[in-house]
């Protein structure tokens, strides 16, 4: 059950990104840059890669829908096995999982996992047309419930239940902006003060513009290999994947979530002992035999400042309602016991959907290798990434050195 020892290990032997921003290029241009960086980092020729898994991007037409092959073609057809994975924000970890399981099964030796995206300005919106049977379309048409509206629901609940304040949320942004200052791949590298956040316009009560992550162009790639391949390559002390969690919810899922306008009913079956977001980390902890107390750092999906605090609790860093305390004690800042989002997080990157979960793995890889420069977490040994894709896609990767 535990993937901790012996053979059956999958190593991360290369990591690379294209800087996040609004660059106006086709997604495949970002992808190729990230792929070449990751392959160069690994010291592996593209022609030696025997599997490519691409995170799908839905805003780039047909090429984006078949991202794995589109990227493979741009790198030059090499006969590799190919997959394209769509799991919304969790697309990247679905691609990691496809590559990991192929390697664990002995069907592949070395795989390129890649995600790249371009995004329009402003709110993410559903596919065009009259789509009366599409829940993602209906939430906009019938309720006007944008993504920030859902983030607002979680944030307002923190305020009413636990006494959180907008100043607490702003403090998350302040922390992440400090972290991201030192990340060459981050889009925003500028210190932000709490007053700046609280002076920005309200988007979805209680969240303001600077509480909510932007949308960005960007790309991230990792090269995964079997332990044997890594050894042959002479990679020493490689970063290893200890668990990947791509779980779906368990019925009844009783927390409002994107894009649904209603939860499951708990009238006939009691809700599971732990909620969906907690179950994503729990499955990865169980698979790896690693617990929250073992983490050196975490990259969590801070779509909003308030949501980062929810994740502290969902991944077991503290009890429910204590996220603010953990933040203010400095536990989750670089220099604290478990720095969260040392990369700067989505606060500094913005969201590039199919790349995001892979970017989190890149950051943890660099941190575990001690290559994170001025944002380095001292003596990092174990890192967790977590994310959640709409329509019920869990996304958590635990890595260790």
């Amino acid at each position: 059950m535990t993937g901790g020892s012996g053979t059956g290990q999958v190593a991360v032997i290369g990591a690379g990104m294209h800087p996040w921003g609004k660059w106006g290029k086709p997604f495949v241009a970002y992808a190729v840059a990230a792929a070449k960086a990751a392959l160069g980092d690994a010291g592996v020729d593209w022609s030696d890669v025997d599997f490519i898994a691409g995170g799908e991007t839905v805003r780039n037409g047909y090429g984006g829908y078949v991202a794995g092959s589109t990227i493979a073609r741009s790198l030059g057809w090499n006969g590799a096995r190919v997959a394209t994975c769509y799991a919304a924000c969790a697309s990247g970890s679905a691609a990691v999982e496809a590559a990991r399981t192929r390697i664990l099964a002995g069907l592949s030796n070395v795989a390129l996992v890649i995600g790249a995206d371009t995004t329009p300005k402003g709110f993410l919106a559903p596919n065009a047309g009259d789509r009366w049977d599409d829940p993602d379309w209906l939430r906009f048409r019938l309720i006007g419930a944008t993504n920030p509206a859902y983030f607002g629901l979680y944030a307002r609940r923190r305020i009413d239940l636990y006494g959180a304040s907008p100043a607490d949320f702003a403090a998350v942004k302040v922390k992440n902006s400090k972290h991201g200052l030192h990340n060459p791949f981050a889009r925003y590298r500028k210190e932000v003060a709490a007053e700046d956040v609280m002076a920005s316009p309200v988007v979805a009560d209680p969240l303001r513009l600077l509480d909510i992550c932007a949308t960005s162009d960007g790309a991230a790639a990792v090269v995964l290999a079997s332990a044997e391949f890594a050894n042959r390559l002479g990679v020493r002390d490689s970063v290893r994947i200890r668990a990947v969690s791509t779980v779906t919810p368990t019925f009844p899922n009783t927390i409002v979530d994107l894009p649904d306008i209603a939860t499951d009913s708990a009238a006939s079956v009691a809700p599971p002992a732990i909620g969906y977001r907690e179950s994503i980390a729990a499955a990865a902890y169980e698979e790896s035999g690693i617990g929250p107390e073992d983490l050196s750092l975490a990259e969590v999906y801070d779509l909003s400042t308030a949501l980062e605090l929810d994740w502290y609790e969902d991944i077991g860093l503290c009890a429910r309602g204590e996220g603010e305390k953990l933040l203010h004690e400095g536990v989750t800042s670089i220099g604290g016991r478990v720095p969260v989002n040392p990369s700067g997080g989505l606060a500094c990157f913005g969201e590039a959907v199919p790349a995001q979960a892979i970017a989190q793995v890149c950051e943890v890889t660099w941190q575990l290798r001690g290559q994170a420069g001025d944002r380095q977490v001292a003596n990092a040994k174990v890192g967790l990434t977590i994310n959640q894709g709409l329509f019920g896609h869990g996304s958590c990767v635990i890595l260790s050195r």
Partner: protein, 149 residues
């Protein structure tokens, strides 16, 4: 005539206008409720019944959480006014059905009228207008009472 034009549900079969009530699906085998009423199979993985009945859901509930839309949502949302006027959204827990349903908050109410635990009732109000007929949607109206959660 004008009244009739003004009372067209924006989506057929999801709610009744007189009285205002959401229509859900209920599994006769295990008692699970569903909304929207489009499900064909019971979502309880241990049940699997496919002979669902359509039932009106509770018209009262308590606020699970709430927010508003200070910026105009993108299409397919159709703003009712120009310039755009923000509106509030509530996620409301139905006690009997033990489920949460999102909806806009009734006209004239905003986030200042809400907190987690506020009691609300279902109403139907115009959502959008094409100049001729106003299309109705369900909304949650605060009742000005709190319940302990």
């Amino acid at each position: 005539m004008e009244l009739a034009q003004g009372r067209v549900p924006v989506i057929e079969g999801w709610f009744t206008v007189e009285p205002p009530a959401l229509l859900g699906r209920r599994c006769p085998a295990c008692g699970t409720y569903m909304f929207p009423p489009t499900g064909q199979w019971c979502p309880n993985p241990r049940c699997g019944c496919d002979d669902l009945e359509t039932v009106p859901l509770s018209r009262n509930g308590t606020v699970w959480s709430y927010t508003d839309a200070q910026y105009q949502p993108p299409a397919p949302y159709l703003p009712r006014t120009d310039p755009y006027e923000p509106f509030a959204i509530a996620a409301v827990e139905l006690e009997k059905e033990r489920m949460i349903i999102l909806g806009q908050v009734a006209d004239g109410y905003g986030v200042g009228d809400l907190s987690v635990g506020t009691r609300v009732e279902l109403v139907v109000e115009p959502l959008e207008s094409d100049g001729e007929a106003a299309k109705l949607v369900w909304r949650w109206r605060p009742l000005g009472e709190e319940v302990d959660q």
